[in-house]
């Protein structure tokens, strides 16, 4: 079942085309990685999917609902969003921040369930031991996991993430990607902007490669992440080999 449908997305700003007729679908149960060089339009695409940015052309639907017509409250029940960090001055404690993820579902009025969902979300990304700490006192990697816990607590069918692993150590990167896989396993549709091509190769069902606002290729990592294609997109020589331990490609930069 298609959960995310984006068709013909065009975004132009200041005479520059940031996204040029980008279309793609994500089914329930899928993890899709969005990759591409800086300025490719990855974050802009994510903001369009989230309903933060109205495209100049094209349309997005989430779980069958037109994003442009949905209210702020309705959108919060359709999608969660893990964005870049901007929490340096937040005085709330971790437990309170994750509990804010239940705000969109507050109308259901089940406080006990809310409490359980918050506790589970914190445990899943290994921040339960930080519950009583103030958010601003955490490292950026810990803050990033708290943001993810908040999104998990939101229990939305669509989960959008902008570089969710950028501040994480290797072990927590693997953990977060496993959590995303798990969320998809529970019926979620997950779209993550990733800079680490090997995380995308190892942990996603499909990869969307953007370059200059154009969708270059979209499909399984083995098909999309090829040496010539990546070398062109990133303007740096790259090679792709078989991962020695995993059933996925391994991207290597080969230097100039």
């Amino acid at each position: 079942m298609t959960t995310i449908n984006a068709s013909g997305i065009v975004v132009a700003r200041g005479g520059r085309t940031i996204l040029d007729s980008v279309s793609f679908d994500v089914a329930a149960g899928e993890v899709v990685g969005v990759v591409g060089p800086n300025g490719a339009g990855k974050s802009t695409l994510l903001r369009v999917l989230a309903g933060d940015l109205a495209p100049d052309d094209g349309a997005v639907s989430l779980a069958g609902e037109d994003v442009a017509a949905a209210t702020v409250q309705r959108l919060a029940r359709l999608r969660s969003f893990v964005g870049p960090l901007s929490v340096s001055d937040v005085l709330f404690r971790v437990g309170d921040v994750v509990a804010m993820g239940r705000h969109p579902g507050r109308a259901d009025g089940n406080a006990e369930l809310d409490g359980q969902l918050v506790a589970q979300a914190m445990a899943r990304v290994d921040v339960d031991h930080l519950a009583d700490r103030e958010l601003r006192t955490l490292s950026s990697g810990e803050q990033q996991r708290v943001n993810l816990a908040r999104a998990i607590a939101q229990q939305s069918p669509v989960i959008l993430l902008d570089e969710p692993t950028s501040a994480l150590d290797v072990a927590h990167q693997e953990m977060v990607m496993a959590v995303l896989r798990n969320l998809a396993g529970q019926g979620g549709a997950v779209v993550a902007v990733l800079h680490d091509l090997n995380l995308a190769a190892a942990h996603t069902d499909r990869v969307l490669l953007l370059d200059g606002g154009v969708s270059v290729a979209c499909g399984p990592a083995r098909d999309v992440l090829t040496g010539p294609r990546l070398s062109t997109a990133y303007a740096t020589p790259m090679e792709v080999i078989d991962h020695p331990f995993r059933d996925c490609p391994l991207v290597l930069t080969s230097g100039r």
């Binding site: 933060d52 209210t71 409250q73 901007s86 929490v87 005085l91 404690r93 309170d96 908040r150 939101q154």
Partner: protein
């Protein structure tokens, strides 16, 4: 960092503080009264006993003044909490960003529009309109500044200009219908009557009730505008409603007590460090704290140099400025 304590302790301590301030406020002043006079007045109001001179002093002068001090202090602190939440800036304050001076101008406009004799309610309504307009102007300015310190500086500049304009109008008009220059610029509770108090209360209560209902959304806004939107908070609507509520509160407060600084800034800052940032408690605890602060300082204003009364705004500045400096240097949130 100050250790966070249970809000229950804060409610009890501050609630008791309000009662103490109220009692002391009733007993302190140029006419010597004791607790027995206070009980006699209460009895007389319920039809027990003969009238004494102290009954009318306590009922007609002190009680409205004490209640006005508590109400204005509570209103200023709640307005401060709301402004700090909506602008995500701990230095936002109704006086500092110009809302209170604008309310003063609105009040004077309200007086000008009413027939001789005047109506306190229309004066408060004018003040509320002035406060709301300035608060909404600050919202427009906030959209165009990226640096939160810049917002406060713009507010300070506007506030100075509006206060000067207000002072000039009041001095030039020089009519017995208009409260004095001192009242507008330094605040004052000496002219409070049951009628002005009664006119101000609905504004303060309505605005504060509005702020209370927006507490949860203001909590979420602390994470950032994008995050709040992603969690289903209509940020534009929240800003509009909160600023209207602030304008209405400040309208009531300024119409009642003139322009008074520091309460809306220092009280929430102290109490946030004590009980934490959650608005559902912070708004109510700040209301109690603001009531104690202004009620207590008003007692000082009318006793330290008796029979001369010191304008309340001078006392809040003398007391509030050092506390603010201390808080900022200690980096208390």
């Amino acid at each position: 960092m100050i250790q966070q304590r249970s809000p229950r302790v804060a409610y009890w301590l501050l609630g008791t503080g309000v009662i103490v301030v109220m009692l002391v406020g009733m007993l302190a002043g140029s006419v010597d009264v004791g607790l027995s006079d206070l009980w006699h007045m209460v009895g007389y109001r319920f039809g027990v006993g003969e009238e004494r001179l102290t009954d009318s002093v306590l009922w007609s002068i002190r009680l409205p003044r004490v209640l006005a001090g508590l109400t204005a202090g509570a209103g200023l602190a709640v307005a401060g909490v709301a402004l700090q939440g909506v602008f995500r800036n701990r230095m936002a304050d109704p006086h500092l960003i110009g809302v209170a001076p604008a309310a003063g101008l609105g009040a004077v406009a309200g007086i000008a529009l009413t027939a001789a004799g005047g109506s306190p309610f229309i004066m408060m309504a004018g003040a509320a309109v002035g406060g709301v307009l300035l608060a909404l102007l600050m919202r427009r300015i906030a959209e165009n500044v990226t640096d939160s310190a810049q917002l406060v500086l713009v507010g300070i500049a506007l506030g100075f200009a509006l206060l000067a304009l207000l002072g000039a109008i009041v001095l030039a008009w020089d009519s017995p219908r208009v409260p004095t220059f001192n009242f507008w610029v330094f605040g004052g509770l000496s002219g409070v009557t049951w009628s002005t108090f009664g006119a101000a209360v609905p504004f303060v209560l309505a605005g504060a009730a509005g702020v209370v209902t927006m507490g949860r959304s203001l909590d979420i806004l602390a994470l950032g505008e994008d995050e709040a939107r992603h969690l289903g908070v209509d940020v534009a609507r929240l800003r509009l409603l909160t600023l209207v509520a602030v304008g209405v509160i400040v309208g009531g407060v300024v119409g009642l007590a003139g322009v008074i600084g520091f309460i809306g800034l220092v009280v929430p800052m102290l109490l946030r460090a004590w009980i934490g940032p959650a608005h559902r408690h912070l708004v109510l605890v700040s209301a109690l704290g603001g009531a104690i602060a202004l009620g207590g300082l008003d007692i000082l204003a009318r006793t330290v140099a008796a029979p001369v009364e010191i304008p309340i705004g001078l006392i809040t500045a003398i007391g509030g400025a050092p506390v603010l400096v201390w808080l900022l240097l200690r980096r208390v949130r």
